[in-house]
């Protein structure tokens, strides 16, 4: 871990590969764009390896291990040779770091296992890339709204990002950080859990939404679009007037280019 300088000039320019994830690529391109804008603003060079598709987490977690193996292979091929890889999903980052090696071992693929061992430690979720690799907490962001932060399960209990996202949010100018009651309890998304056990998933979501209301925040922020899609879907269904935003979108927001809370505008157009 590097020393946290708390300064945007904490580190020389780096070449960083963006692992955007299939979900963000397909449904939430604004988050990927925000990561690019943010890292370029900090002086780094972002690359998008176009061979990338999906880490295979949905298939793996639903029991389709065999189907996820080619995706692990594709990931290793697309991201070989980069010093740092960043993803706007803690969940997908955890999939690569925790399970791609297991998939390689199970398949008896020693070459893949070696490739994964080389790549996995270089894959970071956005908050750890910023705070630990680049050593920055103040990214020069501006976002004048009342925001509450939901620590997603995989960021908390698989990646152990700790309070890195909160440290980043505290430095955002204009941002008022509201506490979220029972923050560490799961929102009930759980990938295909939300489809296979829809009633339990909805009950968990209802409690999370109630906590968001208690926080009196305008914006719910998290580091995973999947969980945000779930909680946000319930919020718009209730016409709750609370938007959801990925951490990257808030950190990319500046006085010159302020981000508009999601839902207040249907799409981000560059």
């Amino acid at each position: 871990m590097l020393i946290d300088c708390g300064d945007v000039r904490g580190m020389g320019p780096m070449r960083i590969a963006l692992f955007v994830t299939c979900l963000t690529d397909t449904l939430f391109p604004g988050t990927g764009q925000a990561v690019v804008r943010l890292l370029e603003r900090l002086g780094h060079q972002v690359e998008f390896p176009e061979g990338q598709t999906c880490c295979g987490q949905m298939h793996f977690n639903t029991g389709y291990r065999r189907e996820s193996l080619p995706m692990a292979r594709g990931f290793a091929a697309a991201f070989a040779g980069y010093d740092a890889i960043v993803s706007p999903s803690a969940s997908c980052t955890a999939m690569v770091r925790e399970y791609h090696g297991q998939l390689a071992d199970e398949a008896g693929d020693a070459r893949l296992a070696r490739a994964v061992a080389g790549i996995a430690p270089r894959v970071h979720d956005l908050s750890t890339l910023l705070t630990e690799v680049l050593g920055v907490t103040d990214v020069g962001a501006y976002f004048p709204h009342r925001v509450t932060y939901h620590p997603t399960c995989h960021s908390l209990r698989m990646l152990r990002v700790g309070d890195a996202p909160l440290r980043l949010l505290r430095e955002v100018r204009g941002l008022e950080l509201a506490g979220l009651p029972d923050a560490e309890s799961c929102c009930g998304f759980g990938g295909t859990f939300s489809i296979k056990n829809p009633d339990v998933s909805a009950a968990m979501c209802a409690d999370k939404v109630a906590a968001v209301h208690q926080s009196r925040a305008e914006v719910l922020c998290a580091a995973d679009n999947s969980c945000l899609m779930h909680i946000g879907g319930a919020l718009t269904r209730q016409r709750a007037g609370v938007s959801v935003m990925h951490l990257a979108e808030i950190l990319a927001s500046t006085e010159d280019q302020p981000a508009v809370p999601r839902g207040h505008e249907t799409a981000v157009t560059p």
Binding site: V20, C22, T24, D25, T26, L27, F28, P29, G30, G32, Q33, R37, F48, E50, T53, C54, G56, M58, H59, F60, N61, T62, G63, Y64, R65, R66, E67, S68, P70, G74, C153, R157, M158, S185, C186, G190, G191, T192, F193, S194, I195, K196, N197, P198, D199, V200, A202, A203, M204, C205, H230, G232, G233, A234, T236, R237, G263, T266, A267, P270
Partner: protein
Amino acid sequence: MSMPTYLGLPPFPEAAAAALEDSQLRHNLAHATGVIRAKRAGVVAELSDWEQLRAAAKAIKDHTLAHLDHYLLRLEETVTRAGGHVHWAEDAAEANAIVASLVHAAGTDRVVKVKSIATDETGLNEALAADGITALETDLAELIIQLGHDRSSHILVPAIHRNRSEIREIFLREMPDAPRGLTDDPRELAAAAREHLRRAFLSAKVGVSGANFAIADTGSLVVVESEGNGRMCVTLPETLISVVGVEKILPSWRDLEVFLALLPRSSTAERMNPYTSIWSGAAPGDGPRDFHLVLLDNGRTATLADRIGRQALRCIRCSACLNVCPVYERVGGHAYGSPYPGPIGAILSPQLRGMSSPLDQSLPYASSLCGACYDVCPVAINIPEALVYLRSKSVDAKRKKKFSPERTLFGVTAWGLRSPRRLKAAQRAASASRKLVGRSGTIRRLPPPLSGWTDTRDAPAPPPESFRAWWARTRGPGSTPEDRP
């Protein structure tokens, strides 16, 4: 590999949906699990070496399981030397038959029981009843369950789903010697149960127990409890029969120290539990004259053969994973259709029973994979890892079946996601379909199986342009600096 009293129960999602309708249950569970969760966190935080204790416990259990054959034979030898008798039961029916014949041999038709999940698993009470033997549960919660013709819903607190006014009703209805003016004051309820049980303790010829631990070196069995009923059951009757899963074994006394530090804090959030009973064989003039140990397999050695699944056998039944589980908290224990509910049940039951029933196939999916269970587990069972692994076993077992809509869907999506070109084509099609879903940016209704999502949540409409398309337009070959936003 059977749990006879749990046959034919519905798959988890169905049972869970029914349980969610019970708002009283949800309220009771949220309160009870919330209180114990906070207390556990408090007493665990007192120990600076908690993580080392966890690692030690994991290592001891893994070592013992890897050499189970050795330690079991050693236990048989030491128990026998101490004057006990050892019986081996391959499955539930065998275990129950052994116990029944021992009770008959003792010349009685009544037994008193210590809380034991192993005998819940084998359906011992029902089997004994069929053989003309009455088994009386002496743990307060187990007594409530037995009198209420109910099933346990929690490993540690079997009647967690009952509130005190329900307990009062059950006592008045089912306990002939309950005082007529009984109120729902917990102290009065406990006193009524105590009166009811005391007579049984003093007259019972046979006691039946499980055990938390069995020490191979000395042939000692350990029961950890709070109420003292266990102490009476294992000391007062002339004959004691203990039904113990083969995975409960520990090599030596030194190993027990680690577990006695972990178990009470993890289960009741106490630094030490009130009663710990330890006995070795049978001693003349002290306690039972006749001691029988029934070592139960019932699917355990099959579980042990599995590389990833075997870690479930480390479980010491503390129930910390139940108390932190967001699914258990909302649904309760009955939906898991097993004496082992919650996260540990979701990985243990399908392994002990095999995955042939719809219920056992659904159990590994009864989790959002939030990982809270793994964090609190005193023997570091990676429950999320085991869950996703068992899911793959469930999927693989069904691969030979001709057609499955889900498998087709996952096959097609995997094919699409393997290639950036196909993903790009799918994204273009999705963006084109955007006009169909209206201008709101959200989709309010999707067809099954995705309707499970849109019943309570909106789904996002595809954006006009994927990230990949945006990148190619603004930064790809042929783009100019002016294209950059």
